[in-house]
């Protein structure tokens, strides 16, 4: 089971999905929310296919995935695991991402960032689900616990 403590940040945190090539060059891509399959301990990240190409190519080649996500409160986690598949996003997932993008836009707006600028960050709906099996979880919230492995399974 993916720990309950991480679920809010998974759904509402801004994320970056990282990978490395066989010759150890790294890359990452923006993620606009994520869903969880508790039965299989998998996470599906909502990605933009026009940005995710290099990250996805690495995952397909090496299988290894890192997913960092965090809330505005600084609460943050990193999941590490094995790439499973890409798939289309469901209606429920697209709706979840729309709510996520709306909340981010509101937050940035309250910080004085112009709507047209905010749209560069969250103005395009994700069109690709990238699923990986979670193997390890690390706390990344700044402070003395940062980097500690989070109990899982």
């Amino acid at each position: 089971m993916i720990p309950d403590q991480t679920l809010e940040a998974l759904a509402n945190g801004f994320g970056h999905l990282g990978s490395a090539s066989a010759d150890l060059k790294t890359t990452h891509t923006d993620i606009l929310s994520a869903s969880v399959d508790q039965e299989n301990d998998t996470v599906t990240c909502f990605a933009l296919s026009f940005l995710a190409g290099p990250t996805l190519e690495n995952m397909k080649a090496t299988g290894r995935v890192s997913y960092f996500f965090g809330l505005m409160s600084h609460e943050a986690y990193q999941f590490k695991g094995q790439f499973i598949e890409t798939r289309e996003l469901t209606k429920a997932e697209l709706s979840q991402s729309e709510e996520f993008c709306k909340a981010i836009a509101e937050n940035l707006g309250s910080m004085g960032i112009a709507p047209e600028a905010t749209m560069k960050l969250v103005g395009t709906a994700p069109d690709l689900g990238i699923t990986f099996k979670v193997e390890k979880i690390f706390t990344q919230t700044p402070g003395p616990e940062a980097g500690k492995e989070f109990p899982f399974n």
Binding site: T62, R64, G147
Partner: protein, 130 residues
């Protein structure tokens, strides 16, 4: 490589993200509070908490970072190569002072502690999506 148009994204007003990997290819992605302009071909990153990143860089100097212009939300991807660390220099002192200011503003004074200014060579800088 780094020009005036990129400088707003290097002022620490918006978080940046960084991915490194170990010698065995295990990736690690984290958020960083600040990417500093050093010169047209180098940036510096604050080394504070991310020990896995530090460990990875000792094994493999390649890194990838995304910076954001806080005014326009324009994002840039940087391919980086770790060059060296500084713990006693003007660069370190400048970064330490700025970091403490950021920490104070976000109510985390004393938690953000600069351990070193890590200097990287910028191998490429691309507008996100280009």
């Amino acid at each position: 490589m780094i020009t005036e148009e990129h400088l707003p994204a290097l002022q620490g007003m918006f978080p940046s993200w960084m991915t490194t990997c170990s010698a065995t290819g295990e990736p690690n992605t984290t958020v960083i509070s600040q990417v500093w302009y050093v010169d047209e071909e180098h940036v510096a990153l604050s080394f504070q908490f991310f020990s896995k990143t530090k460990k990875n860089l000792a094994e493999n100097p390649n890194a990838f970072a995304t910076i954001v212009n806080p005014g326009t939300m324009t994002m840039y991807n940087l391919e980086l190569e770790f060059d060296h660390s500084e713990t006693d220099s003007d660069l370190f002192d400048d970064m330490d002072m700025k970091l403490e200011a950021i920490a104070s503003m976000s109510g985390m004074s004393g938690i953000f502690k600069l351990l070193a200014a890590d200097v990287y060579k910028v191998k490429s800088l691309k507008l996100l999506g280009s």
